[in-house]
C-alpha cells in the first residue's frame, strides 16, 4: 500500500473533503427546511394538498425506481429502457382495460378488472424486460461498461418507437375506473385516487420485500448482487437469477404504468423518458442498489416535485424537471452513494 511518507497526508485530505461535504449538506438541508416551513406557515392547506400530489407521484416513482435499483444492484447497468417500459405498461393497461375489456367507469366490476389489468400488465412488462435482457444485455455482460449503456439507450429508443406507433404522436386520454372525488379529514381533502395508489403500491412493495428476503430466488438475487462469481461457485444459476430480476423490475414498472394511466389518465410516447429519468434520480438519491433507498428516494423526489409545482414559493411546474436534475447533480457531487447507500471502493 501507500508509502509511509504519503500515509500522513492522505487522511488529512479526506478529512477536509468530508468536512466540506458535511457542511454543504447541512446548508442544503437547512435551506430545504426553511423553504418548507415558510410555505407551511404561508398556507397550510395548499401545503397539504401539494404534499398529497407529491406523495401520489412519489409512490409511482418508487415503483419505477425499484426496477432501476434492482437491475443496477445486480449487473451495474443503468437500464435506460426502463422508463420506456413503464410507458409501454401504461399503454398496455389502457389497451387492456378500455379497449379489450371495455370498462370505462368506476364500479365494483371496474375494481376487479383493474386488478386483472394490473396482473396482465405486470406479466407484459416483465416479459418485455426479460426479452430485452436476453436479446441485448446478456451478450454484453462482460463487455466494457460503455457498450451496455449505449445499448440500453438504443433500446430505449426502440421502445419509444413502439410507443409512438401504438399511442400516436399526440397524447391520448383514457377513462379512469378509480372512484372520483375526495373525502375530508378536518380541513384537508384526500383524493380517493391517492388511496388507490397506496392500496396497490404498498402490497406490491411488501410482496417484493418478501420475495427478496425470504424466498430462495430472492436469496440467489442477493448473492448474485454481492459477488457473481462466488454465487456461481455456490451453485446459483446466475443467468436465471438475472432474468428473474429483470422480470421483477419489469413487473414493478408495469404496476406503475397501470397506476399512472389510471390516476393521470394521459399517455404519450415520450412519457417514459421524462418519468424514467426522474425515477432514476430517485433511485440514485436513495442509494442505487438499495431497495428501501429506492422507495425513500422515490417518495422524497415525488414530494419535492409536488411542493415545487404546487406551492407559492416554489419555482413552478415549468422548472420541475430542472429542480430534479439539479438535485441529481448536487447529489452526485456531494454524496454519490446516495442517502442509504454505502460508498463503494474501486477494485484494482
Amino acid at each position: 500500500m501507500a508509502a509511509t511518507a504519503t500515509s500522513v497526508a492522505v487522511p488529512a485530505a479526506i478529512d477536509r473533503k468530508a468536512v466540506i461535504q458535511r457542511y454543504a449538506t447541512y446548508v442544503i438541508l437547512l435551506g430545504l427546511v426553511v423553504w418548507l416551513s415558510a410555505n407551511l406557515i404561508n398556507s397550510p392547506s395548499q401545503f397539504f394538498s401539494a404534499g398529497m400530489v407529491g406523495l401520489n407521484l412519489g409512490m409511482l416513482y418508487a415503483l419505477i425506481a425499484l426496477g432501476y435499483t434492482l437491475v443496477y444492484g445486480i449487473i451495474e447497468l443503468i437500464n435506460f429502457a426502463h422508463g420506456d417500459l413503464f410507458m409501454l405498461g401504461a399503454l398496455f393497461s389502457g389497451f387492456l382495460l378500455t379497449t379489450v375489456m371495455g370498462q370505462e367507469h368506476s364500479d365494483f366490476l371496474g375494481i376487479v378488472l383493474l386488478l386483472v389489468t394490473i396482473v396482465g400488465t405486470m406479466l407484459f412488462c416483465g416479459g418485455i424486460n426479460v426479452t430485452l435482457e436476453f436479446v441485448a444485455y446478456r451478450r454484453l455482460r462482460r463487455a466494457p461498461k460503455l457498450a451496455p449503456l449505449i445499448t440500453a439507450v438504443g433500446m430505449s429508443f426502440v421502445l419509444q418507437f413502439i410507443g409512438l406507433k401504438w399511442n400516436g404522436s399526440t397524447p391520448k386520454q383514457w377513462p379512469s375506473v378509480l372512484p372520483e372525488g375526495s373525502f375530508g379529514i378536518g380541513d384537508f381533502q384526500v383524493d380517493y385516487s391517492l388511496l388507490a395508489v397506496i392500496g396497490v403500491t404498498v402490497p406490491v412493495l411488501l410482496l417484493l420485500r418478501w420475495v427478496i428476503t425470504s424466498t430462495r430466488q430472492g436469496k440467489a438475487m442477493r448473492a448474485v448482487a454481492q459477488d457473481q462469481d462466488a454465487a456461481r461457485l455456490m451453485g446459483v444459476n446466475v443467468n436465471r437469477t438475472i432474468s428473474f430480476t429483470f422480470l421483477i423490475g419489469g413487473a414493478l414498472a408495469g404496476t406503475a404504468g397501470v397506476m399512472y394511466q389510471q390516476v393521470v389518465g394521459t399517455t404519450a410516447y415520450n412519457l417514459g423518458y421524462q418519468l424514467g429519468l426522474i425515477a432514476f434520480v430517485s433511485a440514485v438519491l436513495g442509494g442505487i442498489g438499495n431497495i428501501s433507498g429506492a422507495v425513500l428516494g422515490g417518495i422524497l423526489i415525488g414530494l419535492i416535485q409536488g411542493f415545487n409545482d404546487g406551492l407559492p414559493y416554489g419555482f413552478g411546474q415549468k422548472w420541475s424537471q430542472s429542480v430534479v436534475f439539479a438535485i441529481l447533480i448536487l447529489l452526485m457531487v456531494f454524496k454519490p452513494e446516495g442517502l442509504l447507500g454505502r460508498p463503494t471502493t474501486e477494485k484494482v
Binding site: R142, L146, L149, M155, F157, F161, R232, F325, M332, V348
Partner: protein
C-alpha cells in the same frame, strides 16, 4: 517526423505527397468537387437532373450535415478520445446557438452595438460579425465545458453519463423558460430568437439563397475542427486522453493529471459544439429552444458509434450518412415508397427505430464502428482478464458459463468464436 515522411513516401511510389499533406489535399479535393458540382454542374443539368438533386441531395441538407459533422467531431473528442460518455452534448450546441442568437440579432434592442456586422448600420441590437461570433461562441462553450466538467468529472462512467444528461436537460430548459429571468427577457422563451444575421464576408453578405457560399464557410469550419482533432490526438494531450480512456488508474499512476486532462477534453469538445451551434444558427437563420432536445444528443452519439469511436474520418462518415438519412433520406425514401406502392406509411417516424436499432446492433455486432480506430477495436473486444479468470477459464478457450454445465460440450462445439485479435490468447465468447 522529418525522417518519417520520406520513408512513407517511398513506400507508396505512385503518390509523391508527404504523409501529413494527404488528408488536407484529399479533403480539399472532395470539398472543391462538391462545390463545383453545386455551382456549375447541377444548375446546368437540365430539369430531370435538377429535380433529382433537389429532392435527394439538396444543398441545404448537405450544409446541415456539415453542422452535424462539426458537432459529432466534438463529441468524438469527449467520448471517442477521452472515453467520457456525454449524454448531454446538445447543451453545448444550444449554448453556441444562443451565443449567435444574442450577438447576431436585434434581440437586445436596448443596446446598439455593431462590430463588422452584416446587418444594416441603423438596426438596433447587437450585430457582431459571424467570424468573431464563432470565436466568442467557441470560447463561451469552452468556459461552460469547464464549469460543467469541474464538479462532475470525478465521477465514473455511468454517473458521469447521468450528470451530463442532467445538464443536457437543464440548459435547454433554461433557454425555454428564460423569457422571464427576474423580469428580464434573456432568451425569448419558446419563440426563440429570429432572425439571426447572415454571414458577412467584408461588405458581401450571404443571403438565404447563397447556399453554395454557406457550404464553403461550413466546410472551412469542419476543416478547422478536423485539424484540431487530428493534431491534438497526435500530441501529448491526445495520448493522455487515450491513456485515460483505456485505464484511468494506470494513467494517473503514470503521471497523467486526470482532472486537467479530462477538463481539456471537455473544453475542446465544447469548442466544437459551440462552433456547430453558431453555424446552425446561421444555417437555420434563428434559434429555437425545442430544437435542442435529448434526441439530438442520442443522434450525435449514434453518429460517433456508427462511424467508429475515436476515428475522425469514421465519425465524419457516420455524421454525414445519419444526418442525410435523418433530414432527407428517410422522408424522401418514404415519399417514393408510398408513391410506388400506394401505401401511406409515415417514414420519418421510423427514425426512432433506426437510431435505436443502430445503437443496439452496432454494440452487439460491431462495437468498433464502420471505420474503426485500430486501438478501439482491440479494447472493445477484450474482456477484462480478471473476469475471464474468475470464471475459471484457462486463458486459451472461450469461457463457458459454469452453470450451464450440461450444455458445455455442445456450446463449445457449436458456437463460433471470434478469432483472437488481441494477441493475448483470449478469444471472445460469442
Amino acid at each position: 517526423m522529418a525522417v518519417d515522411v520520406p520513408a512513407k513516401a517511398r513506400r507508396m511510389p505512385g503518390l509523391a505527397i508527404p504523409h501529413r499533406m494527404r488528408w488536407p489535399l484529399g479533403y480539399t479535393a472532395a470539398a472543391v468537387l462538391v462545390f463545383l458540382a453545386y455551382y456549375y454542374v447541377i444548375p446546368n443539368l437540365g430539369p430531370g437532373g435538377q429535380t433529382f438533386f433537389r429532392e435527394w441531395l439538396p444543398l441545404t441538407s448537405v450544409n446541415e450535415a456539415l453542422v452535424w459533422v462539426i458537432c459529432a467531431l466534438g463529441l468524438n473528442i469527449v467520448v471517442g478520445y477521452a472515453g467520457l460518455l456525454d449524454l448531454g452534448f446538445v447543451a453545448f450546441w444550444a449554448l453556441g446557438g444562443y451565443t449567435a442568437g444574442w450577438l447576431m440579432s436585434g434581440f437586445f434592442y436596448q443596446v446598439d452595438i455593431h462590430l463588422f456586422g452584416g446587418a444594416l448600420g441603423t438596426a438596433p441590437g447587437i450585430h457582431i460579425s459571424f467570424w468573431l461570433v464563432l470565436l466568442i461562441g467557441a470560447g463561451f462553450c469552452a468556459v461552460w465545458g469547464v464549469i460543467i466538467g469541474a464538479p462532475t468529472l470525478r465521477l465514473k462512467s455511468d454517473y458521469l453519463a447521468l450528470v451530463t444528461l442532467g445538464f443536457g436537460e437543464i440548459i435547454p430548459q433554461v433557454f425555454t423558460n428564460g423569457d422571464n429571468v427576474f423580469g428580464f427577457n434573456l432568451t425569448n422563451g419558446t419563440k426563440g430568437i429570429t432572425p439571426v444575421d447572415p454571414i458577412a464576408i467584408g461588405s458581401f453578405t450571404l443571403g438565404p439563397f447563397d447556399l453554395v457560399y454557406k457550404y464553403v464557410v461550413f466546410v472551412l469550419i469542419v476543416v478547422v475542427v478536423v485539424f484540431i482533432s487530428l493534431r491534438l490526438r497526435e500530441g501529448r494531450l491526445g495520448r493522455a486522453w487515450l491513456a485515460i480512456r483505456e485505464d484511468e488508474l494506470a494513467a494517473s499512476m503514470m503521471g497523467v493529471p486526470l482532472m486537467r486532462t479530462k477538463l481539456s477534453a471537455y473544453a475542446v469538445g465544447a469548442v466544437a459544439g459551440g462552433l456547430a451551434g453558431v453555424a446552425f444558427a446561421t444555417h437555420v437563420g434563428g434559434v429555437l429552444p425545442d430544437r435542442f432536445n435529448f434526441s439530438i444528443s442520442i443522434t450525435l452519439l449514434a453518429m460517433v458509434v456508427l462511424g467508429g469511436m475515436g476515428n475522425v474520418w469514421g465519425v465524419m462518415l457516420g455524421a454525414l450518412v445519419l444526418a442525410w438519412v435523418n433530414s432527407t433520406g428517410l422522408p424522401q425514401f418514404g415519399t417514393s415508397f408510398n408513391e410506388q406502392f400506394g401505401t401511406n406509411i409515415n417514414f420519418p417516424s421510423y427514425n426512432y427505430l433506426l437510431f435505436g436499432g443502430i445503437l443496439v446492433l452496432m454494440m452487439l455486432f460491431r462495437r468498433e464502428g464502420i471505420l474503426p480506430e485500430s486501438r478501439t477495436r482491440l479494447v472493445l473486444h477484450e474482456p477484462s482478464r480478471t473476469d475471464m479468470e474468475s470464471l475459471g477459464a484457462d486463458m486459451e478457450a472461450p469461457a463457458p458459463e459454469l452453470d450451464e454445465e450440461p450444455l458445455l460440450k455442445t456450446t463449445a462445439a457449436d458456437e463460433p468464436t471470434v478469432t483472437d485479435e488481441t494477441g493475448t490468447g483470449m478469444g471472445e465468447k460469442v
